[in-house]
């Protein structure tokens, strides 16, 4: 480790880093703009100037750009030398000459890196009296606001957007001091990581448009560590909320990235960043609702839909408790349906209430089996699940049937970095440090091998060395052949064509040659055989290489892998529930408690109708008015991720706790609290109920889970309980400069009310308590004196770009470790064409905006979610008497759908790609991969009403 001297102090630093990041790691304040810990140095802004002295005799030294300087053992440097300070001051003065003096009306103000650096460099008085150059702004879509006048030309935006995230529609246009960062034409930024521009831009050129609609300054946001609920990657977020003050409800205002070294690092995807608005959506349930019985004269609702009215929450809880009492007396059967988007605690409370026999996952059989298979694969000690930095360093990646850009976007960004690994290797061979970004990118290294086989591979085709678009059956075949090739098994499959075998051999060669190969797959192709084949491939590869194979499996929803821990093998699917209901005693009435789940997205519509007709009462605890809510007799309002505490398990098996950011609106509370409240009213005595009654804090449930379920025993350790104190204090959710405390509610009552108490976490809903994120990771407000922007995260890392101080948050759940038998493909679930004329196989395709249930309800998403469509091979479209862009009717066994037909070369013949969960086609999703037929849409003649 080199030793360097900075301003007379000796330090030991990491020799692989440049001088700037070494200084920052040491906690020294060196101003910078263009350097970014994840994107390296380009030396464009000249702001990080320091003095380097030749030796201890040297008095004057020379100016160097610290971001472009490798640390030299024994080097003598100065940050605070007068020449360096003067130089930095003059640079910032030059950068500021054209700055438009609009901080008060800039969304970045108060968390602006430019403000911080100007302050730090001591430029307080403007001397420039000339004219300022101005630019016109562009419309960049519903997420990002553009204000080009504020630009200081650091090039961070294009370096992130083009070089790091692989976008191609944001360019540096113009020349000299007129450089313009924008699109060639106005329009939405197409890349799914565009939201990071808001955080990457050191000033306010790119700001969050959704945040601006209900804007408050950073210091006025109340925050807590949270987990993004829009996919299963488990990115850490810091949602910001604030009361409204004008008689409306408190609101979730925005989502920002919360650094987690092993998952999201510095970046989030746009679904995660902008999908939060569903929390404030008008379809949000915030009251207890009960179906009304009175006859209506006229209504636009479907005949089966229930019409609800608000009731006193107490009445709802009493009703629920009556049902529970009846169940205890064996006069009623209560069935619980859990959900992969509900926290472990909520699922567990329901399981505890109804008993394991009456608890079902809310997934169809296929999904349930897929998840259980994933769980089994994880328990194999020949397979490990790689985290993001491990994915970024893989030197060969095989992606099987998973369109990661749309299903696990943050992983796609990691894969994009892995594509540069040969280039990086070459740079290392040439002794070019990796932080020398431009130099490394100019090397003509081959791209690292990335092989994709599957249906659709959005946004990553430019980095893939081989892409094979095949049907799931052929994907399975490919994987099996690859397994045979690697295991050198003599059993040759006869079904494989020579070209296909060539690809297999090529891939096998790459995987065997690689020192750090990685396989990515998941459940989203909805094909058990494929997943089985992938597992076998990973096992064979591990046998061959004698080290566990890195296999990343995407599980679809935020808590899929966690929820599946609550079920026994091959149990818990909705089909099983139907079977159990159809044979059960009809004398005893049945109640169904549905927990945060929309059954119409899980089962085809006729089956859901049948299921609902088999029960006497439907009780729903959920956040949004879903189709299931329309059929429920009672609805209880549940809190969303940002309003509650709980635990999610991500794709890696990392159990992470999220904390309530704010109290929410109406009568919402965590689902488990509704159940416990009902049990509290219950008159029957039972051991089980006294356990439920004893739960007062969210951590009580976590501890109970840890005791009861072996694989989840880490839950007892992943976060402190509500008694935890630091120096006798709780953690503050509000910043020390939270404003308006004595005015925000003054129009209702001039005397202040005490802040509400959090029963679950050692955190205050006020500014009292610990503010320093170095003291606890429960503090999500990343701020340090002089560093108001999110750049201040380096003050809370062990080294720049490293782990947070205090270690990583979250703990890996313990899959029961055993070396399972190589599973053979034998499942009854593979779908065959039925006797009807439906002959087109539906393949699931995914969209970043549109495939996830909750984010679809965000206001800003309405502009970016596509209208219902299906994809078909262009050659085949004409066979159906239609053409691209026309509407077609999709006929399935369970109903007809209308969608636009689009051509896509990636869809195999005889198949159609159906967007999973897209609004308008949600209820088609459970039927995938079933069969359908097409015919041109005939618009029904509109009968003129007199």
């Amino acid at each position: 480790m080199p030793t360097i001297t900075i301003d007379g102090e000796k330090y030991q630093v990491d020799g692989d880093q440049n001088l700037l990041s070494s200084c920052l790691t040491l906690g020294l304040n060196v101003p910078y703009f263009c350097w970014h810990p994840e994107m390296g140095s380009v030396g464009a802004c000249r702001q990080c100037a320091m003095i380097e002295y030749k030796d201890s005799e040297d008095q004057s030294g020379r100016l160097i750009m610290s971001c472009m300087t490798p640390v030299r053992d024994g080097g003598i440097y100065s940050v605070n030398a007068e020449t360096a300070k003067e130089f930095r001051g003059s640079i910032i003065e030059d950068l500021m000459t054209n700055h438009p003096h609009d901080c008060p009306v800039c969304e970045e103000g108060g968390e602006c890196h430019l403000q911080d650096m100007t302050e730090m460099s001591g430029h307080t008085m403007r001397r420039y009296r000339g004219t300022k150059r101005t630019h016109r702004n562009q419309y960049l879509g519903p997420f990002i606001n553009h204000e080009m006048n504020r630009c200081i030309t650091c090039y961070r935006c294009t370096r992130f957007y083009n070089d790091y995230a692989g976008g191609n529609d944001l360019q540096a246009l113009g020349r000299n001091h007129q450089v313009y960062f924008g699109r060639q034409q106005e329009g939405r930024l197409q890349n799914g990581f565009s939201g990071n521009l808001v955080e990457v831009c050191p000033t306010g050129v790119f700001t969050d448009k959704t945040f601006s609609a209900h804007f408050v300054r950073k210091w006025d946001l109340q925050t807590a560590p949270s987990i993004c609920e829009h996919c299963a990657v488990g990115c850490n977020t810091a949602p910001g909320a604030r009361e409204s003050g004008n008689g409306h409800d408190p609101m979730l205002r925005r989502i920002t990235n919360l650094y987690h070294h092993d998952i999201n690092g510095y970046f989030l995807c746009d679904r995660g960043r902008f999908g939060y608005e569903y929390v404030n959506s008008p379809t949000r349930i915030d009251q207890v609702l009960s179906a009304r019985n009175e006859e209506l004269i006229g209504s636009t609702a479907d005949t089966k839909d229930q019409l609800h009215r608000q009731v006193n929450p107490r009445d709802g809880v009493l009703h629920l408790s009556v049902q529970i009492t009846a169940a205890q007396r064996k006069l009623r059967r209560i069935i619980g349906i859990g959900s992969p988007r509900a926290s472990l605690e909520n699922n567990y409370a329901l399981r505890q209430l109804v008993g394991l026999d009456n608890f079902f996952s809310g997934l169809n059989r296929l999904d349930q089996h897929l998840l259980q298979l994933v769980n089994n694969i994880h328990s194999d000690n020949r397979i490990t699940s790689p985290n993001t930095p491990e994915i970024e360093t893989a030197d060969a990646i095989l992606i099987i049937g998973e369109d990661i850009y749309n299903t696990a976007p943050r992983i796609a960004l990691a894969v994009r970095q892995a594509a540069r690994n040969r280039q990086k290797k070459q740079a290392q061979d040439l002794k070019i440090p990796l932080w020398q970004d431009t130099s490394v990118r100019q090397l003509e290294g081959d791209p690292s091998p990335i092989i994709f086989i599957g249906t659709e591979f959005t946004e990553l085709t430019d980095i893939a060395t081989t892409t094979l678009f095949e049907s799931p059956e052929r994907v399975t075949l490919f994987t099996q052949a690859l397994t045979q090739e690697i295991s050198k098994s003599s059993k040759q499959s006869t079904e494989i064509s020579p070209e296909f075998q060539k690809e297999v051999n090529h891939t096998a060669e790459i995987l065997l040659k690689a020192t750090n190969p990685l396989i990515i797959s998941g459940i989203s192709s909805r094909h058990l055989d494929t997943l089985n084949a992938v597992a076998n491939l990973a096992r064979v590869l591990s046998n061959h290489r004698k080290v566990p194979t890195k296999l990343y499996l995407n599980c679809g929803e935020v808590n899929s892998l966690g929820m599946i821990q609550l079920f026994n093998e091959k149990e818990g699917s909705l089909e099983q529930l139907m079977e159990s209901l159809s044979v059960s005693d009809k004398e005893i009435p049945t109640s169904l408690i549905v927990l945060e789940n929309d059954l119409y997205r899980r089962l085809d519509t006729p089956s859901v109708e049948k299921l609902l007709s088999l029960v006497d009462e439907v009780i729903l605890i959920d956040t949004l008015l879903t189709p299931t809510a329309k059929r429920a007799n009672w609805i209880f309002p549940a809190s969303t991720t940002a309003e509650s505490q709980g635990t999610y398990v991500n794709n890696n098996g990392l159990a992470q706790r999220f904390y309530a950011v704010y109290e929410g609106k109406g009568y919402i509370q965590e689902s488990w609290r509704w159940l416990v409240d009902a049990v509290d009213f219950c008159t029957e005595k039972s051991e089980n109920y006294s356990v439920l009654r004893s739960w007062k804090h969210s951590t009580d449930l976590s501890d109970a889970l840890a005791r009861e379920i072996y694989t989840l025993k880490v839950l007892a350790e992943i976060g402190p309980n509500e008694d935890f104190r630091i120096d006798g204090l709780k953690v503050a959710r509000q910043s020390a400069r939270y404003s308006g405390r004595t005015a925000i509610h003054a129009q209702q009552h001039v005397s202040e009310t005490p802040p509400i108490k959090d029963p679950d976490a050692p955190m205050n809903f006020s500014m009292e308590g610990i503010h320093n994120p170095n003291k606890t990771q429960l503090q999500a407000n990343i701020w340090s004196p002089g560093w108001n922007s999110n750049q201040s995260i380096f003050k809370f890392q062990q080294q720049v770009g490293g782990e947070r101080k205090g270690g990583p948050s979250g703990k890996y759940i313990e899959f029961s470790q055993h070396s399972t038998q190589d599973s053979n493909v034998s499942e009854e679930t593979s779908v065959k064409p039925t006797e009807t004329s439906n002959n087109l196989q539906m393949l699931p395709i995914y969209r970043l905006f549109g495939s996830e249930e909750l984010s679809n309800q965000s206001m800003s998403f309405s502009e970016v979610i596509e209208a219902p469509f299906i994809l078909m091979h262009p050659d085949e479209i004409s066979q159906y008497d239609t053409q691209e862009g026309e509407l077609v009717d999709i006929e399935t066994n369970c109903g007809n759908y209308r969608a636009e037909i689009k051509g896509s070369n990636t869809i195999p013949h005889g198949c159609i790609g159906v967007p999973f969960g897209l609004p308008g086609l949600e209820s088609l999703a459970p039927q995938i991969p079933g069969y359908a037929s097409l015919r041109p849409a005939v618009t029904p003649a509109i009968s003129e009403e007199q």
Binding site: P104, V105, S244, A743
Partner: protein, 172 residues
Amino acid sequence: MIASQIRSMWLVFKHLFRRNVTVQYPEEKPYLAPRYRGRIILSRDPNGDERCVACNLCAVACPPDCISLQKTEDPDGRWRPEYFRINFSRCIMCGLCEDACPTYAIQLTPDFEMCEYDRQNMVYEKEDLLIDGPGKYHDYSFYQVAGKAIKGKDKGQANNEAEPINVKSLNL
């Protein structure tokens, strides 16, 4: 001892010929300088538009946290407070809000007569705070010096601004 008593009597007697210190308030009002820190108002710019751009700096500068507001954006591009509230029962008339205000919108006035029987009446909303004139600063208009375009003032039309650059030209 007797001398002391006589001295006291003399001093008291002398005051018979001094000018009265007591002012007959409220019939008689004392002079307060224009810079006196009294009741807070929100002013308008010379065109009669609200000066406040809802930047929140007054709220964050306020030691007793008695200012609260919410930003909203008008169709003409101006930022404006959707509501603006000062809880005068908490206000300490320190004037830090005025110091913090980048647009001269919030100003303290030489009026201190703010008595109420009900504390709730000390909560002033924007309607109560907004006056019709520019207050102490007659000519300042924030949007004339800021580079953000609003309706009626395009890019390049603020003070000291060059014409917007056409990126598609050569720009020599």
